[in-house]
């Protein structure tokens, strides 16, 4: 009783003390939210780049090591060089973001620390481990060559293991804010921190971000190559950067094909965590956001197809396939139109009356995921069919595509007879069918073309310069899309710092409309590319005149010298 009385008599004093410690502080001029938004998006852009590029850099290095092809080794070194200079910028932005949280959202950060404190040390340790591994990987390129190359490749793999682990730790914080788990109704940790880490959206975001990082790294590397191509003084240089751009785009596109699979998995887990959150995301105030996303994805796929068609002009013997291009454009355009057709939109009563209901009587049927996946996935299946094949393997490959198309269309039609919760699950089967077909086609392609008669070497560097602007378009579009998806992921929490647990009581608790978000995304994307250019320029300064000495002279690539002679 005495203790209770003491507590109550102390309560006002404690409360007054608490009132002095603000929950929020205001960042000068632009406010705390915009400051955190800008720095978080920039940090994520750089982090995605330095985590994504090393993944395919080590694959390319391994290819060069096994095939003894020096150009792959050069490209891998070039890619690591790009990430190397971006490392410190990423760390600086991360530190700045941390200061913003501590200074401007102290109560929120104190709560996050009360849950995730054990992970902070792990994160710091992993960061050190990755940094030093990449140092040795980069500076030991010549030292660990020849018979010790396997050690060097292993270092590349190890740096990626550390990099991915960093991603997993950071994702646990972000996903906890979105779909908290392992805590009681008051927000206190119930058991170990693992319960909070392993929340509903953690693993889907891990997979989604890992794949997206590879796509992002690929598009940025391709854009870098395009920039160097356009400014090239010699045919050799043009050929080298044409090839680099092609590889970057190829890697980006390969990863991009599987990205929707991770997206559907994430969507399914969001619905599983909280129906209200899922429905608000897809059919509530964010519904228009997905129209923009559909357009951007359409631009990415159509742009990459256009690049591939332009690239065919440098391949002798590809003329016989060019007549299929207009038909493919038609299929792509149709697929794009279905993909961009909305189903559930936030509309006014007058608009609903004018349309005859909340869904359009005809086009509304194209808005459901069944129609979208059928259009989009079939479009991709056709894209595979443009590869140059040999007759003996074509029958099997066509059969694989036929089976995939049948599965996609079957679930596409069947999707109209089931409820939306079941329908979204069909997406997984449709994606798996197409991925299976791609794997079968590639598995046959590899032995089929081994030692095949060449119709002529690819004339690298002869591609039309406008193709390089396509690569820049892809990089800009994907970076902008990342910003948009970041807004979707964060905005879906609406007026909650931690969904359902810690409410946002700041002046910025309103989740802004898409136009405001787009303005912000554009400003940050411009800042990102300006910083990237600066960082690359710095990296170039350090390397000037040293390439030959380091044994990383740029290789002569077929095509460039052809034009020279």
């Amino acid at each position: 009783m005495v203790a209770l009385l003491t507590l109550f008599s102390a309560l006002p004093a404690l409360a007054q003390e608490a009132a002095k410690e603000p929950a929020y502080r205001a960042f000068p001029l632009i406010g705390s939210r915009l400051a955190v938004w800008a720095i978080a998006q920039l940090h994520l852009n750089f982090a995605a780049f330095i985590l994504g590029v090393p993944i395919f850099a080590v694959i390319i290095e391994a290819i060069g090591w096994r095939t003894r092809d020096a150009q792959y080794d050069w490209l891998s070194h070039e890619l690591v060089k790009l990430t190397f200079t971006a490392f410190s910028t990423t760390a600086l932005l991360g530190a700045f973001l941390l200061f913003l949280f501590i200074g401007y959202y102290p109560k929120f950060w104190a709560y996050m620390t009360s849950i995730f404190f054990p992970t902070y040390g792990i994160y710091a340790g992993l960061f050190f481990a990755e940094t030093f591994t990449v140092y040795i990987w980069y500076y030991g390129w010549d030292w660990l060559s020849g018979s010790r190359k396997w050690i060097h490749v292993s270092l590349g793999v190890l740096s990626n293991v550390f990099g991915t682990a960093i991603l997993l730790v950071a994702n646990s914080w972000v996903t906890f804010m979105m779909s908290p788990a392992g805590v009681d109704d008051s927000g206190a940790l119930k058991g170990s921190v693992w319960g909070a880490i392993n929340n509903f959206t953690w693993m889907p975001i891990n997979i989604h971000r890992l794949i997206a990082n590879i796509v992002f790294g690929g598009t940025i590397a391709a854009a870098y190559a395009a920039f160097r191509f356009l400014g090239a003084k010699t045919d050799e240089e043009r050929a080298r950067y044409d090839w680099m751009g092609y590889i970057g785009n190829f890697v980006a596109l390969s990863a991009f094909i599987v990205l929707p699979f991770a997206g559907y998995y994430l969507g399914r887990e969001i619905y599983a965590f909280n129906q209200t959150m899922g429905i608000t995301m897809m059919g509530g105030f964010m519904s228009w956001l997905w129209i923009i996303q559909a357009i951007l994805i359409g631009v990415l796929f159509m742009g990459s197809n256009y690049y591939l068609w332009l690239g065919m002009e440098r391949i002798p013997g590809s003329e016989r396939y060019r007549r299929y291009v207009p038909m493919l454009i038609g299929i792509l355009a149709f697929g794009f139109m279905v993909w961009a057709t909305p189903r559930s939109m936030v509309i006014t009563l007058d608009e609903a009356r004018a349309m005859g209901g909340t869904h359009h009587p005809v086009l509304g049927f194209l808005g459901v995921m069944s129609a979208k996946n059928t259009a989009v996935l079939y479009r991709r299946a056709n894209k595979v069919s443009t590869k140059p094949w040999v007759t003996t393997g074509m029958a099997i490959q066509w059969a694989a595509l036929g089976v995939a198309a049948a599965i996609v269309i079957f679930f596409g039609v069947y999707g109209y007879f089931v409820e939306s919760l079941v329908r979204i699950g069909f997406s997984v089967y449709q994606v798996l069918a197409v991925l299976g077909a791609i794997v079968v086609v590639m598995a046959i392609d590899i032995p089929m073309f081994k030692g095949a008669r060449s119709t002529g070497a690819i004339r690298w560097g002869t591609i039309a310069p406008r193709s390089q602007y396509v690569l820049i378009l892809l990089a800009v579009t994907f970076t902008w899309l990342m910003g948009l998806m970041g807004f979707a992921r964060s905005g879906i929490r609406q007026h909650w710092h931690v969904y359902g647990l810690m409410r946002d009581n700041s002046v910025d608790a309103v989740t802004p409309a898409i136009g405001y978000a787009a303005n912000m995304i554009t400003v940050v994307t411009i800042a990102f590319f300006a910083l990237v250019l600066f960082v690359f320029w710095l990296g170039g300064l350090g390397e000037k005149g040293k390439a030959e000495a380091h044994g990383h002279a740029a290789p002569i690539i077929a095509g460039g010298s052809d034009r020279h002679s």
């Binding site: 409360a15 007054q16 009132a19 400014g231 105030f285 820049i472 007026h495 009581n505 309103v510 989740t511």
Partner: protein, 265 residues
Amino acid sequence: MRLPVAVKVGAFALVVMGTYTYYANSIPQIQSKPPAELSLEGGNVTTAQLVKAGEEIFHTKGTCEICHRIGQKGTRAPDLAGIGARAAKTKPGMSAKAYIIESLLQPDAYIVEGYPNIMPHVDKPPIALNRSEVWALTAFLESLGGTPDVKLDDIPKTAGAAAAGGAPAEIKIPGDPKAGEAVFTGKGGCIACHKAGKIGASPVGPDLSQIAKIQTPDYIMKKILDPAGSGTVAGFPKGVMPPMFGQSLTAKEYTDLVSFLLTLK
């Protein structure tokens, strides 16, 4: 004159981003505003006002419209047209208001055939309607084909309490309500804006005549110290209540004031 590559590439990138930005600004702009706390203080609410407040909650904070339609078959949840009459016949022996209250607070207790069990508990986060709001929403739903007869006492006292970590505990503040009344009318200056029973009459702030009946001690204590951070009662201007009571009142005055407010039932 040939433009440098960097200029051409930069201009191209700006045009691409400008196009996306222009498009994003040209489509409908929808914000998601944090829901205001509805506090039906004073107990002088008419049925019509209650129904109107409930309709507002239906369209906004309750997020009911995401799944339910009125006069149109929903894809995820039943049509609510006529629910006020229909509810009385759904479960034998259960009145319309009892069925509606059960559906809001324990949605999995009865699932309408043909629909999935996806409805959230409206008094728990993230929707987290408070007791007043559940009361108003029930009245609105009763009005759809029926006659609203729900009273605040029909809503369980625990409704909305889970959001704050369980049912509110009965606590006794060691203050003097009489001295608190003096703070209310004197040093605190509360009387300038608030009514408390027979004291005060100004319509600037909400009527506090029954504040202890509809709000928790926690809320009252926090509201005095951090008025902006505790939300603004619907229909009243934001940012009017002074934020300096934590500094201007002594610990005793603060405790007395809270004790006085807790007598207003």
